[in-house]
């Protein structure tokens, strides 16, 4: 009876040991560990568990920690420059919004939604936020909707369920430092679709830890004419010289689109850097915690096996003496 109880407790402890190891090394690695039922060994199978898997895991976690720390440093060093460039670009857009207004409620035939995302990942949830907002805008806008996606990440998420709405995908805008020339050529591609209402969705950079998903609306010249007639903006309060009103509005609408896109690209890439900095800091911290736990497990197991061997030697010796 007492022997059976002893065996049961051993198997229970072995199971516990297995589940503890599983939480550290994962199920797949656990398959490679050999658990030998050894009721004769009074150390509950500790010695029979290979520490090699834990050692490998420790090495890989350590490497991941180094990589994420380096990525954080890179993002942090690029952030300052990006932020300055982005803040200057705000001065370009604000006067245009003051003059022509941001009129998101305009009802028109077609709405072109332009989600701006990053080309690279590992930057937290900013791209998912943009995609979520784009879906909401697409569902809530009246009339036909179409999509022009900027950036690899939003393309990946939207090309599956919204492929029928996709018209254009623009990639690699920030591969070389972004220029206004790039933004204007992208604008020409987008305006080539002739949508009366364009809504650009991007992450507005507030601080290193805060990014606000933002919708900027740019209308076509016909819509702006209607808006000025209705008094939605203060365009008609200005006295005009030179070309006619509609022509000037056409120029302004095109320029506004270019400026808004330029600003949106910059805001989004600055947010990307800030968000990457944060998420990489978190993963470095997590990797550090994990490494600590693994080291503890490794050392504890090693120490246990040493203790067992010592006990065996001593008890053997005392048995001989006795």
């Amino acid at each position: 009876m007492s022997k059976r109880v002893f065996r049961d407790s051993i198997s229970l402890l072995e199971r516990l040991r297995r589940s503890e190891l599983q939480s550290f090394v994962g199920t797949r690695a656990l398959q490679h560990i050999e658990f030998r039922p050894s009721p004769s060994s009074c150390t509950l199978g500790i010695r029979t568990v290979s520490l090699q898997v834990v050692a490998q895991r420790m090495k890989s976690v350590g490497n991941i920690q180094k990589i994420t720390a380096a990525m954080k440093m890179v993002a942090a060093s690029r952030l300052k420059g990006a932020q300055t460039k982005m803040e200057t670009s705000r001065g370009l857009v604000q006067p245009l919004f003051r003059l022509l207004g941001d009129i998101p409620g305009t009802t028109s035939g077609e709405t072109m939604i332009i989600p701006v995302s990053s080309d690279k990942g590992l930057c937290g949830g900013i791209n998912s936020t943009v995609v979520k907002f784009s879906k909401v805008v697409a569902h809530s806008s009246e009339g036909e909707t179409s999509l022009t996606v900027v950036g690899e990440k939003a393309r990946g998420q939207l090309s599956k369920s919204y492929s029928h709405l996709l018209r254009n995908v623009i990639l690699d805008v920030t591969k070389i430092p972004l220029t206004f020339a790039t933004a204007s050529m992208v604008t020409d591609v987008i305006l080539g679709q002739d949508a009366p209402k364009n809504q650009i969705i991007y992450n507005r950079f507030q601080s290193v830890i805060s990014f606000k998903p933002t919708v900027a609306t740019v209308l076509s010249v016909e819509e702006y004419e209607k808006a000025s007639d209705k008094g939605f903006n203060k365009f008609d309060e200005y006295e005009l010289e030179g070309p006619g009103r509609s022509e000037l509005l056409l120029d302004l609408a095109e320029f506004k689109m270019g400026a808004v896109l330029y600003n949106a690209f910059l805001e989004n890439s600055t947010s990307e850097l800030g968000s990457r900095m944060q998420s990489m800091e978190n993963s470095t911290k997590n990797a550090k915690d994990m490494l600590g736990k693994l080291t503890l497990l490794y050392n504890r197991t090693r120490q246990a096996s040493i203790t067992t061997e010592l006990i065996e030697i001593i008890s053997g010796a005392s048995a001989l003496e006795g």
Binding site: V169, D172, M185, V221, E254
Partner: protein, 74 residues
């Protein structure tokens, strides 16, 4: 666009957009700069992006637009 058709501007008649016209003007102005300002301003002309047209839920061929002045190293 009706406004484009009625426009009196010669560049509009030539089929240019306002942004295309203004970037061409900017290029000309940049070209007038002396050194060392020219090398500083020249990278602002660089353009690079890839665009893919989608029709009926299928992607077309990617088109790379690349205008990089020879003075600018990638």
């Amino acid at each position: 666009m009706s406004a484009a058709a009625n426009s009196a501007s010669y560049w509009r008649i030539a089929g240019m957009s306002y942004l295309k016209y203004s970037s061409m003007c900017a290029e000309v102005v940049r070209g007038c700069l002396k050194e060392p300002f020219l090398t500083k301003a020249k990278p602002r002309e660089a353009v690079y992006f890839k665009s893919v047209k989608w029709t009926d839920g299928k992607p077309g061929k990617p088109v790379v637009t690349e205008v990089i002045p020879p003075e600018v190293t990638k």
